[in-house]
């Protein structure tokens, strides 16, 4: 394969990995701290993507992106807060079965409500950064690089939050030793809400960032949720580094799966084969810890 083409597909995989990482990191963070698998995570992503497209198109793509981003993340985070306070608080500590079904029900509700409010049709918006550049004979959209840089910045910000702040210390305590946290006088109720809101915000952020590069409709959350699961399961639920590695693997597998015309329709199948293999060999993922 010529190096130009290789670079093209590698970059494509990286750009996919970028937004997938942001979404999966939110899912993984919530699971790590709250022990809840959020089946509605993809719905928050979808709602934010729709909101951002609508706001950006209202204001014009070049100046509208930042307000769109703020509005969309705010909406996702607010819905997240409502979900956490009204539903999740009642199912903490229950069987996974109950939590899966409860958040699944929320996903159904949000999906229906989104179709009701926004209609079932897809929408598009222009990227805030236009233009392209040419490397080794192939053309790249500038926005792909923006996505990659954004993901790196968000990853760094999460790292800073988790390891450099008091809140981060409490979150890490919630991940590794919830009982100790309970005994240490931290307001656990508030902490859980905060974590879930951050997770919801990350889902929203992912949706906003991906919106200019694809058609957005109320079903986009369904497929991204499954990919986010694949990523966080491969990387290990609860591990942010795991999400990054998992996102890279999934992004590149999808991208290079598309390279060969005889296999390109199975690109997604490869992801689930990777996921199945990892879970079979190491059920708690590459960077995760076995559940007690």
């Amino acid at each position: 394969m010529d190096p130009g083409k290789f670079l093209l597909f590698a970059t494509g995989g990286l750009a996919d990995a970028a937004y997938l990482f942001i979404v999966a990191a939110g899912l993984s963070l919530v699971f790590g701290a709250l022990r809840v698998i959020n089946m509605a995570h993809g719905s928050l992503y979808m709602v934010a993507a729709l909101v951002s497209v609508i706001v950006a198109n209202q204001l014009g793509a070049s100046i509208g992106f930042l307000p769109a981003l703020l509005a969309a993340v705010l909406v996702a985070a607010s819905i997240g807060a409502v979900i956490e306070v009204t539903v999740l608080k009642r199912v903490y500590g229950h069987e996974h079965l109950v939590q899966l079904l409860a958040t699944y029900a929320i996903a159904l509700i949000i999906g229906g409500a989104a179709r009701l409010i926004f209609g079932p049709n897809y929408r598009t918006t222009a990227a805030p950064v236009q233009g392209s550049l040419s490397i080794l004979g192939y053309s790249y959209s500038l926005y792909a690089f923006v996505t990659i840089v954004a993901a790196i910045l968000i990853g760094a910000a999460m790292y800073g939050l988790l390891f450099r702040t008091r809140l981060g210390r409490n979150i890490r305590a919630a991940v590794s030793d919830p009982e100790l946290l309970n005994a240490s006088g931290v307001n656990v109720t508030l902490l859980y809400t905060t974590v879930f809101v951050i997770g919801a915000g990350l889902a929203g952020l992912g949706g906003v960032i991906v919106a200019p590069s694809q058609a957005v409709d109320p079903t986009i959350g369904d497929s991204v949720l499954v990919l986010a699961f694949a990523i966080s399961v491969i990387g290990g639920l609860g591990s942010i580094i795991g999400s990054a590695v998992g996102a890279l693997m999934v992004g590149e597998v999808i991208s290079f799966g598309l390279i060969n015309p005889t296999t390109n329709s199975f690109a997604l199948a490869f992801v689930f084969i990777v996921m199945t293999v990892v879970l079979t060999v190491r059920p708690w993922g590459l960077f995760g810890r076995p559940e007690a």
């Binding site: 996974h96 079904l101 409860a102 996903a107 409500a113 499954v226 329709s265 689930f272 199945t276 708690w284």
Partner: protein, 631 residues
């Protein structure tokens, strides 16, 4: 439970809620059977527009009923959430579509083949998914579902890719709508009957046991994974059959049928009708089809919101319990009207032992020291060791326990008693050494094998099947232990009933036979455990802190029971206990462990006067007080 009267009276359900349920089922079945003539009549009266439309709707509901009931085999009976069930439904539909379109074989042959194909796909993928448990199992089914979906969408040559397969027609024999309806009703009815028999059989009993308490199920001799795989495959088979009926009402089979979100339908339908009852999901199917038909044309999205709200309502109103609620309505009523308090969970207490109390306790509880017959060695440990990383929890322990002995293992916290028990019962594998039971090497064998060999166990935290009745706890344990749970027919609740009742009377629980086990007091739950061990025909019973969390009164009663049963049935006891009055009041032989090793062994009198033992305990006392000081 013999009733006088006509020969058939014993087949009548004896409990009132059961009778209501049966009556409801019969009404439902009659209504289903009368749907086509009723529609035709209403059409002739001009009350409905098209009887054909209503009948096709009925067929759709029947197919959905089969799909949802098969889903509930996993969800309601085995407690498994699968996101791949739509995929097996899709596999069934695709199999029929492909066979019909490419090979022109008869629809009826394809209908027979499709469930087989779905079951094969189900057993292979289920085997992979069941490498993981609970949550991770659900996530693996999600991956499998998407994998199958990607195949359906990508494999143009076979599946027609994202266009799917179109233009499938029903066979000539089924073009008449009432005939079509009765054909589908016959297939669905027969399938439901098979599944119904299955759920009430000893096989179904094993599933319920797994759902209630995996760990306990394993310890009574159930191979948990095998049963989960079996029910997963059976569910896939019937989903495949439902999928194979689908082309009778829809001419196209498309890949999106396999997408994971499609699992919403059977989940919602099952929850709608009540997953605690067998026919609930079937009833839910008719309700759902009606709702879907009346709302989806004008309010398609409102319907999604409504369905989500229903699922959420059920899940939140009946938290935890709904997955295994024997009766959803009763649960709801209890929830709304307010009901019994749930029994308090046992907590293990790590209190230090005070030797000072011991002498007095022994005087109060001492049993006349019987002469221990040095009979056969029943359990023999040879150089048994287990380390965790650098920590040697158990280090080359040699121990012989004679038949009929009542052997206590004591030692301060962290002495390795629990690890030793786990090594004997197979919950942990030893790093080195051997365990012999009755001359048989059982080292490192899985728990269910060891349970079958004759070692029963009572757990530190009570292990029962909380939502099964006390009687069922015993009956199902017996079924599992005697290898009868492979039997997919017969009524599990009628097998070993007398024997179980007799055992319950022996432990004094006779009056509570029909009470859900989880509602009994803590001490009584332990008595159930003891009865289960007896039911398993265990010759040796391991009791891990049998009286932890009990009041003094309960402790005395429980130990009296243990002593009496052990004497009556010539059981060998091996127990560890912090309460010295229990130890010295029950044991004939005492082994003292310290830091993973056997310190000494002897009669209770020898141990009591051993200065080394006292040193160990006093050392622990000091340590405890040091730890206690800063907190």
């Amino acid at each position: 439970m013999k009733q006088a009267g006509a020969w058939w009276s014993s087949w009548l359900p004896s409990r009132r809620p059961d009778r209501v349920r049966w009556a409801l089922a019969i009404v439902l079945l009659l209504a289903a059977a009368l749907l086509p003539p009723a529609s035709l009549y209403l059409e002739s009266q001009g009350l409905i527009e098209s009887a054909r439309f209503e009948i096709v709707l009925g067929v759709t509901a029947l197919i959905l009923a089969l799909w949802a009931v098969s889903y509930n085999l996993m969800l309601g009976y085995a407690g498994m959430v699968s996101f791949a069930h739509a995929a097996y439904y899709g596999v069934g539909a695709y199999t029929v579509a492909i066979l019909l379109q490419r090979y022109q074989i008869s629809y009826f042959a394809a209908l027979a083949l499709a469930p087989v194909v779905a079951a094969v796909v189900g057993i292979v993928t289920g085997f992979v998914a069941l490498r993981a448990v609970r949550l991770y199992f659900s996530l693996l089914t999600l991956a499998i579902s998407q994998l199958l979906y990607s195949l359906a969408e990508g494999w143009y040559g076979v599946t027609g890719g994202d266009n799917g397969i179109n233009g499938i027609t029903a066979p000539d024999q089924l073009t008449d709508y009432p005939t079509l309806y009765y054909f589908v009703a016959a297939v669905v009815g027969l399938s439901l009957l098979v599944m119904f028999v299955l759920t009430r059989s000893p096989f179904g009993a094993a599933l319920k046991a797994v759902r209630e308490n995996r760990e306990r199920a394993r310890s009574v001799g159930i191979n948990v994974k095998a049963y989960e795989l079996a029910v997963y495959t059976i569910a896939a088979l019937f989903a495949g059959l439902a999928g194979a009926l689908f082309p009778l009402v829809q001419p196209s089979v498309v890949p999106s049928m396999l997408f994971w979100t499609e699992n919403a339908t059977p989940v919602v339908v099952a929850l709608l009708g009540g997953i605690g009852s067998f026919l609930g999901p079937a009833l839910g199917a008719f309700v759902y089809t009606g709702l879907d038909n009346s709302l989806s044309r004008d309010f398609p999205y409102q319907l999604d919101v409504l369905l989500g709200a229903i699922v959420l309502g059920v899940v939140l109103l009946v938290p935890g319990g709904f997955a295994s609620a024997p009766d959803l309505i009763a649960q709801l009523r209890r929830r709304i009207v307010g009901g019994e308090a749930t029994p308090v969970e046992a907590e293990t207490r790590g209190e230090a032992i005070r030797m000072i109390d011991v002498t007095r306790a022994v005087e109060a509880h001492a049993i006349p020291t019987e002469h221990i017959e040095r009979g056969r060695v029943l359990l023999k440990l040879e150089g048994l060791s287990r380390s965790f990383g650098g920590l040697r929890a158990v280090e080359s322990v040699d121990l012989e326990i004679h038949e009929g002995d009542r052997h206590a293992i004591i030692g301060p916290n962290g002495a390795g008693k629990s690890t030793l028990f786990n090594l004997i019962t197979g919950r942990m594998r030893p790093s080195a050494g051997h365990v012999w039971f009755d001359g048989r090497d059982i080292t490192g064998r899985p728990p269910h094998v060891i349970a079958k060999a004759g070692i029963g166990r009572a757990f530190q935290i009570t292990m029962i099947f909380p939502r099964l009745t006390v009687l069922q706890n015993l009956q199902y344990a017996m079924l599992a232990h005697r290898g009868r749970t492979v039997q997919p027919w017969g009524l599990a609740d009628r097998i070993y009933r007398d024997e179980a009742t007799e055992l319950l009377d022996a432990v004094g629980l006779g009056p509570y036979a029909e009470t859900p086990a989880g509602q009994l007091s803590h001490g009584d739950q332990r008595a159930i455990e003891l009865a289960i061990s007896l039911a398993l025909g265990s010759r040796m019973i391991l009791l891990d802190e049998p009286t932890a969390g009990m009041s003094a009164f309960e402790t005395r009663k429980a130990m009296e029971l243990v002593r009496r049963i052990a004497t009556e049935r010539n059981l060998t006891l091996l127990f560890c206990e912090h309460d010295m009055s229990v130890v010295f009041g029950t044991a004939r032989t005492v082994t003292v462990m310290y830091q993973g090793r056997v310190l000494t062994q002897g009669t209770p009198e020898q141990i009591r006067s051993d200065p080394e033992v006292q040193a160990v305990y006093l050392g622990e006392l000091d340590l405890d007080e040091q730890q206690a000081a800063p907190a």
